[in-house]
């Protein structure tokens, strides 16, 4: 019993520690998406295909918003006047829509090529 638990915990820690140096946010291509007046800016964002990227979503409004996409399966809440990092990809080339869950009239898309 203890062996299982110890093995599982050590593998989990190994995963985390091993992962950190391999995927530091500074190494990944980074893109900024801002939310202002419940609209995305830019509404069209181009990212490289088959590459893991970080999208920094900055919420310039005072109210909370959620960055969501069913095309690339992410949903993340951004509280007012703050920012979050969303790891996206690697995605094959194409067009992927995203929207703001609290104000779904705000839409944008990723162009992946």
């Amino acid at each position: 019993m203890q062996t299982f638990f110890a093995a599982a915990v050590s593998v989990a820690l190994g995963l985390l520690q091993g992962g950190a140096p391999a995927a530091v946010a500074g190494d990944l291509p980074s893109f900024v998406l801002t939310i202002k007046e419940h609209q995305f800016s830019p509404a069209e964002l181009t990212i490289p295909a088959n590459t893991k990227v970080v999208i920094v979503v900055k919420n310039l409004d005072a109210t909370v918003e959620e960055f969501e996409s069913t095309d690339f399966h992410r949903e993340k809440v951004v509280t007012g006047a703050s920012e979050v990092e969303v790891y996206v990809g690697p995605l094959p080339a194409g067009r992927y829509e995203f929207f703001a869950d609290f104000h779904p009239t705000a839409r944008g898309h990723l162009i992946v090529k």
């Binding site: 299982f4 992962g19 995927a23 992410r74 949903e75 809440v77 969303v86 609290f102 104000h103």
Partner: protein
Amino acid sequence: MLATMIVIFREVLEAALIVSIVMAACKGLAGRNFWVSFGISTGLAGACLVAGFASTLAAAAQGMGQELFNAAILLAAVAMLSWHSVWMARHGRELAQQAGSVSAAVVAGTRPLYALAVVIGVAVLREGSETVLFIYGIATSAGADSTGAMLLGAALGVILGIGAGAALYLGLLRIPVQYLFTVTHWMIVFLAAGLASQAAGFLLQADLVPPLGNAIWDTSWLLNETSIVGKVLHTLIGYVARPAGIQLLFYAVTLIVIVAAMRILAPRAANGGKAAAIVAGTFLLCAVPPIFHGDARADFKVRSPIVDYREIEVETNGALTTRRDFGETFAIGAGVLPWWLVELEAETQAAPGERLEYAATTLESTFQFTPQGKYWADLSAFVEYSKAARHGDPDTITFGPLAQMETQEIFHSPMLHSANILFEREAGSASSGRTGFSFAWQSRFRIDPLFEPGIEYYAAIDDLRHAGAFDDQAHRAGPVMAGLYSFAPYGKIKYQIGYLFGLNEATEDGVWRWRIEYEIPF
């Protein structure tokens, strides 16, 4: 000299490990030493031959002769190991009981042993040919390093490699006989799967099979295959740092075929549950939702490690078996921190023909360790405390890791793979100290947000102290369909529905399972 020693050590180690496992697996069988020696000597002779004709071989078959040769002998070894596994499953129980007695030796016969001689011969041949070539290259080259020193390094490497194999053999022998057969039996099953995946690698190099996705995962940062530990794991379980899809396919198919053949041809399988659980538990890294007990707690779900911060979720999970056991749970939860989801769940059950009863109240937490998508898998920890409502039922604590991984290239479709590994411990006054284990896996194709078809597998061991044979555990698998529909900004509804086929004696023929969930941000 040191570099040479390490290179030779790694080559010899691989063959020595295989020889040791095979020898331990055949302990007590008549003629074992003869057949093992025969295999080793034939392998060595063959290695010299192969080394001698190395350039001819490499040029043959449009330059793919070496790859074809390696793939062919590896697949031959896989076939022999599979035959051995099935044969041992049929006769292992009798042998375990009678091991050491003269009649056992007679009963066992020598039929599977020459198959093992082939396996040993192949292992020695593969590693031996590379070693011979390397040593020949040292002996004939006029290099800067002293040839004598390098030959000494090679000799030391051979001795160390054999020594490591001997240590494994002696270590294996210390396992009590009734477990020895089953431990080595399962090691051989994983060995065969690993060899099959190596064969796939050579066939891929020879361009005879499609890759089905390159580098399905990349764990070279965690453990490199060329390191000693990596090489040991590579031999024992077929660990590959950047596996191609075809390698994983060969690996999985080999495992499935051997285990299926064992079940079909040896219905009263040897006492292997505990060893299998140890081996499987150490290797696998996924979680399974709750365990299906004999007293009909049946909620099947594959939990996601992702915490939706600032969202409230309301969900119901249900299951109905072909024996008419029914269970339904109702839960409400919230992502209160970006990395913490807390849920309160009410569980109800109905035994066949009985009324629906309130069974338990559960408090669950999921702690998300890694940001979604940042690493090759998303990892979380799950823990729950379940308070039984019926008098005499024990409370339980369940805990374990949850993981999921997205892939893009397999079968040309985005996929989501999830796994849960959970341990369940009885607690409180009605506890019998039972510790159970469960595992769940789900892979689904993300072809459309509303329709994501996939497959699932659930395994459960009710009590790790009595892990029992395969037939005393619970194994189920089947298709599943999942999807979601968004009513933004009024939330979204998610569903899953699946049918699980009971795979062994202890499970019912089938279970319908379903899940409906409503989420809304707050």
